[in-house]
């Protein structure tokens, strides 16, 4: 290894950067160096313009079988569903439920699947590296139902201790809710193995893919998971849109969650019958323009190719890890061999909050805090980390800038 820039992995990087208007933004007088991609990603013009075009030339409400303008909008809307299905290799597009975000997708499973199929004494297994969105819904469910939350511990490098998972699994396990990739540690978990074992124990598996869909090829058929949740805004799409993939027969076994228009077949004041999935779970007017925009994001990512994106981001990760590793007193949190391009660290002298304020003056945007993953902080005995999370639109030079700026921090606090 060594400090090895491999720009040949993304030769058109400048062309790509030009696709993202935000990447030429300035913070004060400094160009923005955006390294907070795990929080949210910027949108390519293709997405911004798709939404604008839809809103100004094609806008209508959907799914109400009406005039042609509405039919066309419905067609585009359902077309996005098919694109998303193809993107994660879901096959049948009726397995794609549109939600308002990954958080909502997981809450949907907790309320609909959870409240129906998980009872007193049953167990749900999560891990020590989950985002709050994949912890709190289960805590609330267990408070209500009397089920028990079990936690797969993690190693010092930030990997699941699979042997402990094996021990936690039992006939009581009804659900394993696990992140595909940790938003703090970067760790990519062995989902296929987890699903296989969980299924053998009779449990369903929900995968929190909020951090993986933007960065690696997802194949739900190969994973064989029962649910997969993710957000549009983390994969270069609009805010306000998320996805819940669910196996059709599982979705079909679930009661509705939110109630309102479009999720019913017939309503009388006495009795109501419900639509089939995905409609059953899409009450009310959906985020129409955002669904259209998500379709454009999927097209954009597919055109570049997830394999190329992964390869380039891995090279950025390797470079950044080496580079930051050389900084005195900097401790990287999350060193699993199989990880996404996220570098969390603890900088002895300076608290993450101070780090971000100082490097922000250089135009560098990274996150400092607990990243909505407090149990990870506890596990590593630190209150917070500073996190640089990378995208295929980042450059090696931006990591150089980060390293330089961190050296200033050390000088201030030295």
């Amino acid at each position: 290894m060594g400090l090895n820039k491999k720009p040949e992995l993304m030769p058109e990087i400048e062309k790509i950067r030009a696709d993202f208007p935000m990447l030429s933004a300035k913070v004060g007088d400094r160009p923005l160096v955006y390294l907070d991609n795990a929080a949210t990603t910027h949108k390519p013009l293709a997405v911004i313009e798709r939404i604008r075009k839809f809103d100004s030339q094609q806008y209508a409400t959907v799914r109400r079988g009406s005039y042609r303008m509405g039919e066309w909008a419905t067609e585009m809307f359902e077309d996005s569903r098919k694109k998303v299905a193809a993107f994660i290799n879901a096959g049948d597009h009726r397995q794609i439920v549109f939600t308002s975000g990954a958080t909502m997708s997981m809450n949907l499973v907790a309320h609909s699947f959870g409240r129906k199929f998980i009872g007193a004494g049953d167990e749900i297994i999560i891990s020590n590296m989950e985002h709050h969105a994949n912890i709190v819904p289960w805590q609330l469910l267990c408070l209500e139902k009397g089920c028990v939350l079990k936690v797969i511990p993690i190693t010092d490098s930030g990997e699941l201790i699979m042997g402990e998972f094996d021990k936690l699994l039992s006939p009581k396990t009804k659900l394993v809710a696990i992140t595909h990739s940790s938003n703090v540690l970067g760790t990519v978990n062995p989902i296929k193995e987890i699903v296989k074992k969980a299924h053998a124990a009779g449990a369903k598996v929900l995968v929190d893919a909020a951090q993986s869909t933007p960065h690696m090829k997802i194949d739900v058929k190969e994973m064989d998971c029962d649910f997969l949740a993710f957000s549009g805004h983390k994969m270069y799409g609009p805010s306000g849109i998320g996805v819940l993939y669910g196996k059709y027969e599982v979705l079909e076994s679930m009661p509705p969650f939110l109630a309102g228009g479009d999720m019913i077949n017939s309503v009388t004041l006495a009795r109501t019958t419900f639509a089939k999935p995905p409609g059953r779970f899409e009450a009310g007017t959906p985020p129409i323009s955002q669904v259209i925009g998500l379709g454009a994001a999927v097209d954009y990512l597919s055109a570049i190719g997830l394999d190329r994106i992964s390869a380039y981001e891995q090279s950025l990760l390797e470079y950044g890890t080496e580079l930051l590793g050389k900084i005195d007193g900097l401790r990287i949190i999350g060193t699993a061999p199989h990880k996404a391009a996220i570098i969390s660290f603890w900088l002895g002298a300076a608290h993450p909050h101070d780090v971000i304020t100082i490097i922000d003056q250089d135009g560098i945007a990274v996150r400092g805090g607990h990243h909505c993953a407090q149990p990870v902080m506890e596990r590593f005995g630190i209150p917070a980390t500073t996190r640089a999370s990378l995208s295929f639109y980042n450059k090696y030079e931006e990591l150089d800038q980060l390293a330089e700026s961190l050296k200033k921090v050390i000088k201030v606090f030295g």
Binding site: G65, S66, G70, T273
Partner: protein, 150 residues
């Protein structure tokens, strides 16, 4: 494309105004309630099928738009005297025709006058209106009792 020549042809308007077999069959052997939740259409089919699978009588009731009513009316006219097996074949053909999967060349199918509904393919939101009665027919044959097209 014109709604008058393609969709609302005289025959259809006539069946809408004067639907045939618009009644119930007491002591029917088969029946089904069909719903289209999108527009609130409801079609109820009653059938009298004998042991050898012959449709001796068929009737419909309910409410719906001109397309669904005319489609139900013309379907019942066509079904009487056919076998259950014939009915299934025609359902398939009708469905393929209105969704544009099959061109209704003369002689290549059993639809006869029902080809008048081929114009529906130009009006995607109306396809379900034309097919509601047919889905309900299959449901009645299968003795499922209730069906919903979504």
């Amino acid at each position: 494309m014109s709604y008058q020549s393609d969709l609302y042809q005289q025959v259809i308007l006539d069946h809408n105004k004067n639907p045939r077999n618009f009644r119930e069959i007491e002591g029917h052997s088969n029946s089904c309630d069909g719903y289209n939740p999108l527009c609130g259409d409801k079609i109820n089919i009653h059938m009298q099928i004998n042991e050898s699978g012959l449709i001796e009588d068929i009737a419909f009731s309910g409410s719906g738009c001109a397309i669904s009513k005319a489609s139900a009316s013309m379907m019942t006219v066509n079904m009487k005297g056919k076998t259950v097996a014939d009915a299934r074949v025609m359902f398939e053909e009708f469905h393929k025709m209105i969704t544009g999967v099959m061109e209704p060349q003369p002689g290549a199918h059993h639809l006869g006058k029902l080809t008048i509904f081929q114009g529906v393919r130009e009006f995607p939101s109306r396809i379900k209106c034309a097919s509601l009665a047919w889905h309900t027919l299959v449901c009645a044959i299968d003795k499922t009792g209730e069906t919903t097209i979504e």
